[in-house]
């Protein structure tokens, strides 16, 4: 039999049949594919219809048709029957949530700190931005020093503001920034130590890392706030905020060390061999060849541990530091604004602030992950 066949005219692409595209086909495929799916979808839709209007009414101010009290409203509005979230309370106490007990006349100082931070971080995070090295040095070295003198004062005629008066979002950011900046070098050293062939150094690093990773942060903070004063020579007083900073830094450097170690282990052996075959010393081959690659690989992991660190800063409220969560908690017993929704509005506000920071960081980590992935394929 002859099987010969040659196509003379190509078939042009045709539109998909209507039962394959369009919203109805989509709904059938992704909502009602099986009886179980159909039932789940219907229950989910019922749940949405049930839950969304009350949530909308609670969160949205009257201007948008909800029942919440917009900023500028009075406490009487918030106390009214059926009133939603009391945003007026948040806006009235906003400066407390941001600066804590920082003297209002000196707000420009934390504001400058915020501004410098934003100006330095933004180009650091954008992979294409130039001057990375200078930028990094400015951020990791110069910025903390400038911030300390700006916030603490006592120099250049600035009024001294003791750390007891720092609070709110300011303290949350200070703790997480210091934690991040100090734990990076410490974490890298620990990771290198753990990979080291020298037994004593290796053991010390393993013990350090495993100890901090084993215990909850809250016990570390308790320890820092109770034991640090005991460890110091008699008569030295350690600032309360500093104690928390030490605790947070030690804790997060242990986690960071494990992330960096992951990057070191993921590097092919050839890189190590190539580095030593070039005749570079240990520190040169680590600093010039191994670490830059390893750290680049684990940027998503590092960002993820910063998210954890940022969330964990809220624990300092347990040792009596007025971070964002603690200011919100403290303000919730403010009689002037007492209303049925006072506490929940405060938590909602704090939750939204934390969420914005963490979500942004997690998106950034995903962005970097994709970027690194494609970088490999090329």
């Amino acid at each position: 039999m002859s099987v010969s066949f040659v196509r003379r005219e190509m078939i042009a692409p045709q539109p998909a049949p209507s039962n394959n595209t369009g919203p109805i086909a989509w709904a059938r495929r992704s909502l009602f594919a099986t009886p179980g799916d159909a039932l789940l979808s219907v229950l989910a839709i019922i749940l949405l219809i049930w839950a969304i209007p009350p949530i909308y009414n609670f969160v949205m101010p009257t201007f948008f048709g909800g029942h919440a009290v917009a900023p500028g409203g009075t406490v009487e509005d918030c106390r009214a029957l059926g009133a939603g979230a009391c945003w007026a309370y948040i806006s009235a106490r906003m400066s407390f949530f941001i600066y804590g007990f920082y003297p209002p006349a000196e707000y420009w100082r934390p504001n400058l700190v915020f501004l410098f931070g934003a100006l330095l971080i933004a180009p650091l995070l954008i992979p294409r931005a130039p001057f990375k090295r200078i930028n990094a040095i400015l951020f990791f070295v110069a910025y903390p020093v400038v911030c300390f003198f700006l916030l603490n004062g006592g120099v250049f005629g600035m009024r001294a503001v003791p750390t007891e008066q720092w609070g709110g979002l300011l303290v949350t950011l200070v703790i997480s920034m210091v934690g991040i900046i100090c734990s990076i070098p410490l974490g890298i050293l620990l990771a290198l130590g753990r990979q080291s062939k020298l037994p004593i150094i290796k053991t010390l690093c393993v013990m350090f890392i495993e100890l901090w990773r084993a215990v909850p942060l809250i016990t570390v903070l308790f320890m820092a706030s109770i034991m640090l004063p005991l460890f110091m020579p008699q008569g030295t007083s350690v600032d309360k905020l500093l104690r928390a900073l030490v605790g947070v830094t030690l804790f997060s450097s242990a986690y960071l060390a494990e992330v960096v170690r992951g990057g070191l282990q993921a590097l092919p052996r050839g890189q190590y061999e190539a580095a030593s075959s070039l005749g570079l010393s240990y520190w040169k081959s680590m600093g010039l060849i191994i670490l830059p690659q390893a750290i680049k690989h684990v940027i998503p992991g590092i960002v993820n541990s910063f998210i954890a660190l940022f969330k964990d800063t809220s624990l300092v409220s347990i040792v009596g530091i007025f971070d964002l969560l603690n200011t919100v908690q403290a303000a919730s017993s403010d009689i002037d604004w007492s209303s049925p929704t006072q506490a929940i509005t405060g938590y909602l506000f704090a939750g939204i602030v934390f969420w914005i920071f963490c979500f942004a960081m997690s998106r950034y980590s995903i962005f970097m992950e994709r970027r690194l992935d494609t970088g490999h394929k090329r």
Binding site: V3, S4, V6, R7, I11, P15
Partner: protein, 266 residues
């Protein structure tokens, strides 16, 4: 013959052979279309495969050749036309899909062996759980096929311990253990190092000599010349040219076929 122009024409080729009894037909694809969303991947495919026939499908990447054979055991769904395998028409009915899959073996480009099971367990899994064959019997069959693909000594190793060529031979043996009536090959040698291609092709040639119905997507033109009854060339989701291997290689008619062959044969 060759001035036919459309799918209807191709259908005419097939219906011309209608005298053969239906039981001799292994696969019948009639006017089949497939879309990925709005993208028309397979356009009016007509293909009848008789029992014992060995067909090689060639074509540039993205031409839809893999999608076509994946439709035949319903790893992909088609939207228009009919696919009848071993007399069973493929529809949304899971029972029929399982029925077809039991009789159709498939070999993948990336082997897809189960890494958590030994080679022997890989081979006996389906006979035991699909066919209900007693374990001892399934193992005997498995060892028989392992011998056929010349690696009985690897039976108790894990897939990760084998070379790519060995893994692909295990994958073929795994399909054979279900004693399928049809074997589909989806670029079985594309992921292999050059020195391993031969050992896999040898197994496939052996299989062809035993009269297995085979549908192979491959770029191994030597294999096509040696064992195929028919070579099909696909591009842009349609069958462009089809002929017996001698005619196909010596006298390609369509411009695209010529271009493709000149690229692939240098």
């Amino acid at each position: 013959m060759s001035d036919m122009t459309s799918g209807a024409a191709a259908r005419a080729i097939n219906t011309a052979n209608m005298t053969v009894s239906q039981t001799d037909v292994a696969i019948d694809v009639i006017g089949m279309h497939k879309w990925y969303g709005d993208f028309h991947v397979l356009r009016d495919i007509d293909l009848r495969v008789m029992r014992g026939e060995r067909i090689v499908i060639a074509g540039p990447s993205g031409s839809g050749k893999s999608t076509l054979i994946r439709c035949i055991n319903r790893l992909e769904e088609h939207q228009q036309g009919r696919i009848i395998v071993n007399g069973t028409e493929l529809t949304a009915d899971l029972k029929r899909i399982d029925e077809v899959r039991r009789e159709v073996g498939m070999v993948f480009q990336h082997f897809n062996l189960f890494p958590h099971l030994t080679i022997l367990q890989n081979l006996t899994l389906a006979p035991i759980w699909v066919r209900g064959i007693p374990k001892a019997e399934a193992e005997t069959t498995a060892m028989h096929y392992l011998e056929r693909v010349k690696i009985p000594e690897q039976a108790n190793k894990f897939p990760g311990q084998l070379s790519g060529g060995q893994q692909q031979r295990v994958a073929i043996a795994r399909s054979l253990c279900m004693q399928p009536k049809i074997m589909l090959f989806d670029e079985p040698t594309s992921a292999l190092d050059p020195e391993m291609v031969k050992e896999v092709l040898e197994v496939m040639i052996n299989l062809a000599e035993d009269g297995m119905t085979m549908l192979c997507v491959t770029h191994e033109m030597g294999f096509a010349r040696q064992v195929a009854n028919r070579v099909i060339f696909m591009d842009q989701g349609q069958i462009i040219e089809q002929n017996d291997p001698d005619a196909f290689f010596s006298n390609p008619e369509h411009e695209r076929t010529k271009l493709f062959l000149s690229q692939i044969l240098h």
